[in-house]
Amino acid sequence: RNPSQFTINPSRHNVNIPEIKRHLHRFGYLQRNNNNKNLGLPITGKPDSDTLSHVRLPRCGYPDDVDSKTTAFHTKQK
């Protein structure tokens, strides 16, 4: 999965958590209002470098949270 649409040259000043979550939701990676901790990352409340580094890494295409899959997960074009 390629998150490059928003991770190419991200600026710390114009990327915020709601924006990232909207993006992930739009492309089927995250349900709305999902505040779950994931990937063993610390919760910092901001788009910290650890989190952004993980978003950029190549990853397995299978969803992490299989219980929360929605129809959108299957129908949205990635």
């Binding site: 999965r1 990937l39 063993g40 990853r59 397995c60 969803p63 299957h74 990635k78």
Partner: protein
Amino acid sequence: YVYFPGRPRWTRDIPLQLTYAFSQENLTPYLTPTQIRRVFRRAFAKWALVIPVSFVETEDYEIADIKIGFFAGDHGDGEPFDGVLGTWAVDFHEQKSTVAVDLESVAVHEIGHVLGLGHSSVKDAAMYPTLKPRSKKVDLNVDDVVGVQSLYGTNPNFNISGLLASETSTNLAD
């Protein structure tokens, strides 16, 4: 470790034997079938070491329990792949690409899915969902072992203290 909803697992008699076969049409052109076979044999062996399950290669792709191929885009499971992101590697000394991804590490991970494990939050686990380019994660972590053994039981020849000793030594080295 995490299971899929409903905790699905292979349910034949123990010791379980699963067959695997490679697609003839959907392999990757820059690795030879021999290289791919060797990598997968090693990857299956990692799991077979810890649970009473054996994996046997068969030529018959249609009836194999586990079908192995390299696919792009929509491949039939409702989760289309994005397309090419990097280059498969079986030897980083030969493959110099900065986006080379270790095939054996991915094979070990995907076999974990086939056995019923989902994505783990333990960074050192084989079932952690991300892998840095030019890195390897071919050994099972305690998290992977405990997870899969609770589904299938323990291989009578496996000794977890050896794995724990190996992990302690790796941590000390780090």
